[in-house]
Amino acid sequence: MTAARILVAKTSLDGHWRGINVVSRALRDGGFEVILAGMVTADTIARVAADEDVDLIGLNVGGRVEVVERILDTLAEHGVKTPVFAGGTIPHYAVEKLEKRGVRCFPPGSSLDDIVACARELTGTVA
């Protein structure tokens, strides 16, 4: 049995790695393999998701939701059907917008347990 794989990518240029690191550790402790991509462009996220054969994509949002929407468009263009969830500073108005496109959102204040549980659900793995 191999563990489910999650690509975690940063979508903003700010130097804030704390949230990404905390969530990545929680996912690792939940038994997932977390592939950290750092700050990459939308095309690269599509490429990495395919090359690494991941089961889930996690986007760290830094306020600008348009960036996330562009990434979703790019993934669709490349035929990547991997589920996506997002965390970080997602503005309120944006949560609804993203969830409509099938992206589960975890704005600030979300519990790590909920994030891990969601990862389990989206990858079809059990604890």
């Binding site: 191999t2 563990a3 690792r28 402790d29 939940g30 038994g31 990459v40 462009t41 690269t44 690494e52």
Partner: protein
Amino acid sequence: MFNAALSGDRRSLAQLLSVVEAGGDDFEFVAPKLLASAKGIHTIGLTGAPGAGKSTLTDAMIGEALRAQRKIAVIAVDPSSPFTGGAILGDRVRLSDEHARDESVFVRSLASRGQLGGLSLAVPGMISALDAAGWPIALVETVGVGQSEVAIAASADTTVVVVNPGWGDEVQANKAGLLEVADILVVNKSDRPGADATVRDLERMLHLGAARSWNPPIVKTIAAEGKGADVLWQAINDHRAFMEASGEWEERRRTRRLVELRERVTSALQRISTDIEKNEGQDIAMRVANGELDPATGAAQLRAMLGKRLGD
């Protein structure tokens, strides 16, 4: 999927690599086909202490390879947590975006799983898959702590050991082993003081070791600035030419195939024996744990059960 992977479809290759990594029946089905499509990939192992700059150096080496119009595949290994089996695979953070999306680059992150035989089975299998898919070079990054550098040396044609200035001042443990597996030594972070002294230390230590037909060159790099990667590639190509001329290229492959054969048998046996311990051998294991039965007698009884299973 298999044929698509071999004819250059990346998505299929990515899926093939997952099949290889899982190592189950599906892998046994494709394994003979991989051998039939083998082309002679050059595997370069890159090992060294945590933080030595292996991933940064990998990125610099990719840049050089692309300048020379060569395709390059990378397998980046990071340790799994022994408690949860999870892992954070962070080597990609050092990869530039430009390299990460280049058609001529294929990077795959791999967790060590901390299991006996895990890595030593997954890596050779994945290299065979990349070879069959037409990738001419595979760079394998592993953190070198203790036994694992020996393990990676076993699956590489050319082993590059990365150290930093000041390495000579550290404790002696492990050094001899590292020098023994190194075909090429890299002093990375040569922008820091002490690089030349470290080169001299390494030269002296190499002289102390047993004479070898190949004298490992020592290359200074500043991976963070992309400096020295060209010299490193030259050393790697020289090593390859040496191996081909001396017959070592084929000799290492022969050894590697036998190692993989043994690893696969051992790991299969171990899987069955663990399963026996949880099932028909549960009583025996319990009595050994309680101190009622000595481990040697217990082992003999489990062995008999193993024999029965293998007879099935």
